[in-house]
């Protein structure tokens, strides 16, 4: 009986979502306060029912209710409880349920914290969130019901895809969805502003921490996904430019642009139309990402072919949401224009260049991702573009961003002064060159590695110089407000990331070898000794587990245990062994036994040394941290008393400090 209650809860949630979206919009239009007041209680009610539905599905997994088709398809008796929880979002239907749950979490937070916004505006924002929920709930109820029954009930279920049975993977989708869905807040703000025909800087200020948090979650999700691909897939790579990754990367790029555009709009009032457009794009790309992965338009996922209704529904929903908002933008954007003019040499200009680069990069990724589809449409056959396309164009587009990054903070709003820049330029150039020369000796003149060190140092030194300037010039206690500290951390993360990417890409060594027990391979100064393979078992798998001992000179560095796991339905999954370090990772993946009878016990092994690869995720985590720290800035907390212009902002503080000196 319980699964039917879950479905009932979803239907009630849909009805409440309809109330949450339609009534407040009518109320805001007609000036009817009673109708506007429906927004918050309806949102709360929707959240209760969605949480109930999610809980019921999770409960069905926990108590092995195989009479539910979705549970039978994605779990079995041997699956440990934590993976049964993760199995809730392990496939199409449940992941949509997670999506809608997270949308409700954001909506509730928004409803609770928006009390001080003007009633008309707040109710419009909540109503837009409700409209998104209507689309998703209808999609679940009409095409992707997770509570469908399976009769007769099987004695045991299938299995959660073994690829997903990894701690990184249980945690990756919720983080990613927190990011995707978080952009709905900025989106709802923009739509509400377009509907109302006005955009106050104070509202943009209020929206900023939401965007920052969403972007931080998305960053975290992408880092987790990249780490998982590295640890789990056994290829030693950390980014593959496949459609699923691109789907999460596009909103990230646009989100990064949006964070900066919002800062300009909030502080100077300019770039309003651009901010609105970016917030529409960020969320649209999130929707597109969710759907591209789920719909199978690109990757030909099984579920889609069997049910074209899903694809049509998705397309209709996208058309209404994105097409509708862009049309609204076209009609109403002129109403919300305004702001202060700025000089060519100014912080605005630098931010705008960065913004354009991010936007163009996102478009480039979109084009590359959709290429197979375009190929079909133009009857050129199914062509894919892969790493060569992305790997060439992306660094090219990001180079200006990296080059300009140290200068942005040093420039003033409106009109910057050139002499300050010259001094800065001199210092970062000297620092980058000096480090590049030292690096040149250490890496044997590998050009890519030298460029990596130079670019990374360029950014890091720029950030440190600005931090030093703040330390000297700003009064104690005001030196690093949240917004400032977040910016410094995130930019530092970019520098660390650049170093990690270029050094690991250029200096990694890969070796595919056949090894018999006792044999040793040398890579750099490391000796990898293969000590054979034995059989081992886990909760729901059996595995061949190799032992590889790594020594350097006389010293033992690591004993590594790569596995080749077999799950109950015969799926084979590699578990690479990684010995992590600050300056290098050692990485071993187990291949196949070399002969059928395996008399010698020889196996194919893949050995890697990967210098500085950890800096990639370290940089990503710093960026995430930057987003979070920024969102905690006290300035973003809305006070009814504070006037929009009266609040001191970080940039202005600095200018005041300078003019005093």
């Amino acid at each position: 009986m319980t699964p039917e209650l879950g479905q009932l809860a979803l239907i009630l949630a849909l009805l409440l979502a309809l109330a949450q979206s339609i009534l407040p919009l009518v109320g805001a239009w007609r000036g009817n306060r009673a109708l506007m007041a429906v927004a918050r209680p309806a949102a709360a009610g929707q959240a209760v029912f969605v949480a109930m539905a999610f809980g019921i599905l999770a409960w069905a997994f926990l108590r092995f209710d195989f009479s539910v088709q979705y549970v039978a398809d994605n779990s079995n008796l041997a699956l440990p409880w934590y993976y049964r929880i993760a199995a809730v979002w392990g496939a199409h239907e449940g992941s949509l349920l997670l999506w809608i749950l997270i949308l409700n979490v954001w909506t509730i937070a928004l409803a609770a914290l928006s009390q001080k916004l003007p009633e008309v505006f707040a109710s419009r924002v909540i109503a837009v969130m409700g409209l998104i929920a209507v689309g998703f709930l209808a999609f679940i109820i009409f095409t992707s019901n997770p509570f469908g029954r399976l009769l007769p009930m099987p004695g045991d279920g299938a299995d959660l895809n073994p690829v997903l049975q990894d701690p990184g993977m249980t945690f990756h989708p919720p983080m990613l969805y927190m990011g995707y869905v978080g952009f709905s807040v900025a989106f709802a703000f923009s739509i509400a502003a377009l509907l109302g025909g006005e955009l106050e800087q104070a509202w943009v200020r209020w929206a900023r921490p939401w965007t920052n948090m969403a972007w931080a979650f998305l960053t975290c999700g992408i880092v987790a996904g990249s780490w998982w691909a590295y640890a789990e897939l056994g290829w030693g790579g950390w980014w593959f430019w496949d459609p699923v990754e691109n789907a999460s990367f596009m909103p990230w790029l646009v989100g990064a642009a949006l964070i900066h555009a919002q800062a300009v709009t909030e502080k100077r009032g300019s770039l309003r139309a651009w901010t609105i457009l970016l917030s529409i794009f960020a969320f649209s790309l999130s929707l597109l990402g969710t759907f591209l992965v789920r719909s199978g338009v690109l990757t030909s996922v099984h579920a889609f072919a069997s049910d074209p209704r899903r694809g049509v529904f998705i397309l209709a929903f996208l058309t209404i949401v994105v097409g509708g908002s862009l049309l609204l933008y076209a009609l109403r954007a002129p109403k919300v224009l305004g702001g202060k003019a700025f000089n060519v040499v100014s912080r605005e200009t630098v931010l705008l260049i960065g913004n354009l680069m991010f936007a163009v990069a996102a478009a480039m990724v979109l084009l590359g991702t959709l290429f197979p589809l375009i190929g079909d449409a133009l009857n050129l056959g199914r062509i894919s573009v892969g790493p060569p396309y992305f790997g060439f164009l992306f660094p090219l587009l990001m180079a200006p961003v990296v080059l300009l990054m140290p200068f942005g903070p040093f420039l003033r709003w409106g009109k910057g002064d050139a002499p300050v820049l010259k001094g800065l330029l001199l210092r970062v150039v000297v620092a980058a060159l000096a480090c590049a020369i030292v690096a040149a000796f250490l890496v044997d003149g590998n050009l890519k590695a030298i460029v990596g060190v130079a670019a990374g140092v360029w950014v890091v030194v720029g950030v440190l110089l600005y931090a030093l300037k703040r330390w000297r010039e700003a009064p104690r206690g005001r030196r690093y407000p949240g917004e400032m500290a977040g910016m410094l951390l995130a930019h530092l993360g970019v520098g660390i990331f650049v170093i990690g990417v270029l050094l690991s890409e250029s200096l990694s060594v890969t070796r595919d070898v056949r090894m018999a027990p006792g044999e040793t391979q040398h890579i750099g100064s490391y000796d990898f000794r293969f000590d054979g393979v034995h059989h081992t078992t886990g909760p729901n798998w059996t595995a061949d587990q190799g032992t590889v001992t790594v020594t350097r000179g006389e010293k033992q560095i690591a004993v590594m245990h790569p596995q080749k796991r077999t799950y109950p339905r015969g799926q084979v999954q590699t578990e690479s062994a990684v010995d992590a370090g600050v300056t290098r990772d050692l990485y071993v993946a187990l291949g196949e036994p070399m002969d059928a009878n395996n008399l010698e016990g020889a196996w194919a092994l893949r050995l890697y040394t990967k210098p500085f690869i950890r800096w990639i995720w370290g940089g990503g985590l710093l960026m995430m941290l930057g987003g979070v720290v920024c969102a905690t800035d006290k300035r973003f907390r809305l006070k009814r008393a504070a006037k929009a212009e009266g609040v001191v902002d970080a940039g202005a503080t600095l200018q005041v400090g300078e003019s005093r000196a």
């Binding site: 794009f281 199978g296 954007a333 589809l373």
Partner: protein
């Protein structure tokens, strides 16, 4: 006009997606082309499930067409297709050969005792090595092999009544007609 550009761009994208959906309904995106289709089946030499001492090779089966059905006791979908195969076996027109895949023999025998044994012949590939030559992804899979040992049809996944009526039976009929 400028402000309409994002909208126009997006509508082009919608057109592209619409095309993608249409394209997917016209083509089977899951059709994994079998390089073996219309090629001779790979050589094999596998023990019989019930008499492991006796081996069956591809050459032994030449001369008569047969449906090679890859199954295992651990495979849930095999239980779905089993009644369909059992019901159709007498009127199939070809011999039904069971290919027991990555399965301890005792488990396979228990499973067959429980669900019935429609197979004219049963071979066992416990290590699963020969299955690699056939390009087996998992169980169940079925290969229709003609009298000359050529693979004429392949199905991945359970044989449902629909697959049986719309794909397998026509494929068998076409093959038998050609042989006459």
């Amino acid at each position: 006009m400028n402000r309409l550009l994002p909208f126009i761009g997006f509508m082009l994208l919608v057109g592209l997606f619409g095309f993608g959906i249409w394209w997917n309904t016209q083509h089977d995106p899951n059709a994994i082309p079998t390089p073996l289709l219309n090629k001779p089946a790979p050589e094999f030499n596998l023990p019989k499930l019930y008499e492991p001492a006796q081996k069956v090779s591809k050459a032994d089966l030449l001369g008569k067409p047969y449906l090679l059905n890859v199954f295992a006791s651990w495979c849930i979908e095999c239980g779905v297709e089993h009644p369909v195969l059992s019901a159709a076996a007498p009127t199939l027109g070809v011999q039904l050969v069971g290919y027991n895949y990555k399965d301890p023999p005792a488990d396979a025998k228990n499973w067959l005792a429980k669900h019935g044994n429609p197979y004219a012949l049963l071979i066992a590939d416990e290590p699963g090595n020969t299955a690699i030559d056939f390009g087996v992804y998992g169980a169940p899979e079925s290969f229709l092999i003609d009298a000359k040992g050529v693979i004429r049809y392949k199905h991945i996944g359970p044989i449902t009544p629909e697959v049986m009526a719309k794909e397998l039976k026509p494929a068998i009929a076409a093959m038998l007609k050609e042989a006459q």
